[in-house]
Amino acid sequence: MKKTITCTVCPRGCEIEAEYTSAADIAVKGHSCPRGERYAKDECLAPKRVFTSSVRIDAPGRRMLPVRTSAPVAKDMLIPCAEAAHGIRVEGHVNVGDVIRRDFLGTGADLVASMTL
């Protein structure tokens, strides 16, 4: 399989060419850093993205709390994560980094607050 990948690790957006037959055999070129190489290999086998959203919060003067996953999750989990986030309500004071849902939807990543409110 051959694939042209726009790297999303940093704003540089390198165009990476990947050619692979299996997980053990991936040839990557066009990247500028080791993170780009790892990203391209992940794109071939199991693409991952950081999920972000905002969820309801009962706090003075605020209606929404921005949240993120603590690590990238499988790309095809983004829509299920977004649907699950709709049902979340948070109460009281929250610090940036506080865990809102541990192992969110079994992705292995926690859903954490991205703002102190």
Binding site: T6, G13, A82, E83, S114
Partner: protein, 423 residues
């Protein structure tokens, strides 16, 4: 005047977004006695508060943060450095060494040793584009939709067309898709993407959202609510091609068609503005035509990365502190010139002071591959860089070494030579 309060500060900063926070921290760290940030919103953080997506901080913090996380770190840094923050306060008028503000406790006159303009930018609207058609509800700028969804939890619509391929528009295409809306197309007038390639990859391609280059919206239908937009391809002069129109049913149109630095305050103070960047004309110290007034961030020129804003604004803050202390170096200044292939260069002049290397920021006019950037002065090459790929959506930079800065004796030109033009 009765009830009018006056306060004297070494450095006053207008705006507590990423630019203002970084400038204030740096001014304080550079020795300014009292540094005051005035912010019209109820809280600091600026536009980052609604930018809940990741992608910020790779350069400054070496990790990928969301907008609110990035803002919170700078709010803490500015506070830890000892900068004071006055929220709910709007700067109304800039005089020579005085800023008139409306604060919750009335009009306040702030006398300053130096001032940093960090007001950011505003979105272009339908009025700026002159799109014909009806005037129903359901038409938003991308940033307004972002605010409604991310800060207020509102729903903006179900069937969406986005005009303009700027970064905010693409980010909202993803956000709306995750919120359950159907984004039918992103329509771009130009033959190339306006925003960053990575945002096309992770916001459009990830969700199969079509990007229609060289197309525009030619009509808008709907009585109370938007019911459809009509799009058409454009020719090389960007004129819609008759007979090729296509109607797309939708209840929402987002506009992501560019940002304009917000310089109404600068104009009250007679600050010289560039017709290209629409921000103040500055030297490498970020010093404007009023030597006591500095400018940084999106009010200076529209940036694509907050990390650049933080770095540039720290320089503005530090230089403002030096100016207030009478310690900013002075030397002859030479203009920078946007040469072939370059739309603008910021700063617009370079002071021949060899204290520091000087970074020139610029944008290209066209996308290309195997591009070489060249900075020259009087036939001498001061800096060069090669890039495998470039686009007008990406801010580029070249660094002039300080020895070459000290030796300047004429205008500095930046030009760009593409191995292959992609348009």
């Amino acid at each position: 005047m009765l009830g009018m309060k006056t306060k004297t500060c070494d450095v006053v900063v207008v705006g507590a977004g990423p630019a203002g926070l970084s400038a204030a921290e740096a001014a304080k760290s550079a020795g300014a006695g009292n540094v005051l940030i005035v912010e019209r919103d109820a809280a600091a953080g600026g536009i980052l508060r609604q930018c809940i997506h990741p992608g910020f901080g790779l350069k400054v913090f070496g990790e990928e943060l969301t907008g609110p996380e990035y803002a919170e770190r700078y709010i803490e840094r500015a506070a830890a450095a000892g900068a004071e923050l006055l929220t709910g306060t709007t700067a109304l008028e800039l005089r020579d060494r005085e800023l008139v503000c409306a604060s919750p406790s009335g009009i306040v006159n702030l006398r300053f040793g130096a001032l940093v303009l960090a007001m950011g930018c505003r979105e272009r609207t339908r009025a700026n584009l002159v799109i014909p058609g009806a005037r129903p509800s359901g038409i938003y700028t991308a940033g307004t939709a972002q605010k409604l969804i991310n800060l207020f939890g509102d729903k903006v619509g179900r069937e969406v067309v986005i005009l303009g391929s700027g970064d905010i528009g693409m980010i909202m295409a993803r956000r709306l898709t995750l919120e359950g809306a159907h984004v039918k197309a992103v329509v771009e007038l130009l033959p190339f993407l306006a925003g960053l390639a990575r945002n096309k990859a992770q916001c459009l391609d990830d969700f199969g959202i079509p990007l229609l280059l060289s197309h525009t919206v030619v009509d808008i239908d709907g009585v109370d609510r938007l019911t459809s937009v009509t799009i058409a391809p454009v020719d090389e002069k960007r004129r819609p091609i008759p007979g090729k129109e296509e109607k797309i049913a939708c209840d929402t149109l987002l506009l992501s068609v560019g940002l304009i630095p917000e310089n109404e305050l600068s104009r009250t103070g007679g600050i010289a503005l560039s017709p290209v960047t629409r921000g103040p004309v500055v030297n490498q110290f970020k010093q404007t035509s009023n030597p006591a007034v500095f400018a940084c961030g999106n009010v200076l020129h529209v940036n694509d990365l907050v990390d650049h804003v933080s770095v540039e604004s720290a320089e503005a803050g530090r230089n403002a502190a030096l100016y207030a202390a009478g310690a900013l170096p002075s030397a002859p200044a030479f203009p920078t010139v946007a040469g072939p292939g370059v739309r603008y260069v910021c700063p617009q002049s370079v002071v021949a002071d060899g204290g520091e290397d000087v970074t020139l920021f610029f944008r290209t006019t066209l996308p290309g591959r195997r591009t070489e950037f060249l900075c020259t002065s009087g036939g001498k090459v001061l800096a060069t860089r090669k890039s495998p790929r470039t686009s007008p959506g990406t801010m580029e930079q070249l660094v002039i070494p300080k020895d070459a800065v000290a030796a300047l004796d004429g205008p500095v030109e930046v030009r760009c030579e593409h191995g292959e033009v992609l348009a």
